[in-house]
Subunit: 108 residues, 2 copies
DNA sequence: TTATTATATAATCATTCACTTATATAATTG
DNA sequence: CAATTATATAAGTGAATGATTATATAATAA
């Protein structure tokens, strides 16, 4: 069953805590990689690899501006992904829960 | 972030083609294990283990009747799971795609 | 141009996962 | 009762996964 497997593969992207957090954050605004590295508690290559995976399925898109690469959500044509993300906590709650409520400012 | 991780863990249940197929089938009626073994192309213990996992997260419930154990969907209190399942193909489409459109009758 | 900063890719590794076969348990049938 | 059928559990295995460190690339700043 091709269609089901394709759904399952996309849902797998949401089945990792780090990636789901990224997607939840992106609901409110774009983030550059270094901001996400600040927030999530994994290495920069780790974040890059998650973003690459999300991008390969078209769930996020990137925008290179100078030295930074900004990622934003791109799920308007993915109804069930979109509907799941409506149930994620908002950025404020996520950042608070991670003790990252301070100014997430420029990276360095 | 506890809440996000919990969501991710539940979504992981839907991120496997076999489990997602089971859940999609159960949207229309209950199935006993041996029927699912007939339909899905994996071993009986394989099916049992998927069902156990689904049950452990409360997504299905079981009803033992005689020799058979019938599983049914139990997602009324799980809104985002429910909303994803609304996008799965219906049983007929699934069975056709798997060349299992014949009478799924009693098991032996 | 050299150093710094941001990001990506490659290689590696431990863990998880979905399957299998073998076996146990339980209900039904002859 | 013994044989059969339905299901579950245990053990083992290969592949996938999410992380890490090391390194490459590219843009900016000194």
């Amino acid at each position: 069953m091709e269609q089901i497997q394709e759904m399952a593969d996309k849902l797998k992207l949401l089945s990792d805590g780090t990636r789901l957090t990224i997607l939840a954050l992106l609901r409110e605004r774009e983030y550059c990689v270094c901001e996400l590295v600040d927030i999530l508690e994994i290495s920069q290559p780790g974040v890059s690899q998650h973003l690459r995976k999300l991008k390969s399925y078209g769930l996020v898109k990137e925008d290179k501006r100078g030295q930074w690469v900004y990622y934003s959500l791109n799920v308007d044509d993915q109804p069930y992904i979109k509907s799941v993300l409506e149930y994620t906590p908002n950025s404020k709650a996520i950042l608070t829960a991670m003790n990252k409520e301070e100014i997430t400012s420029v990276c360095k």
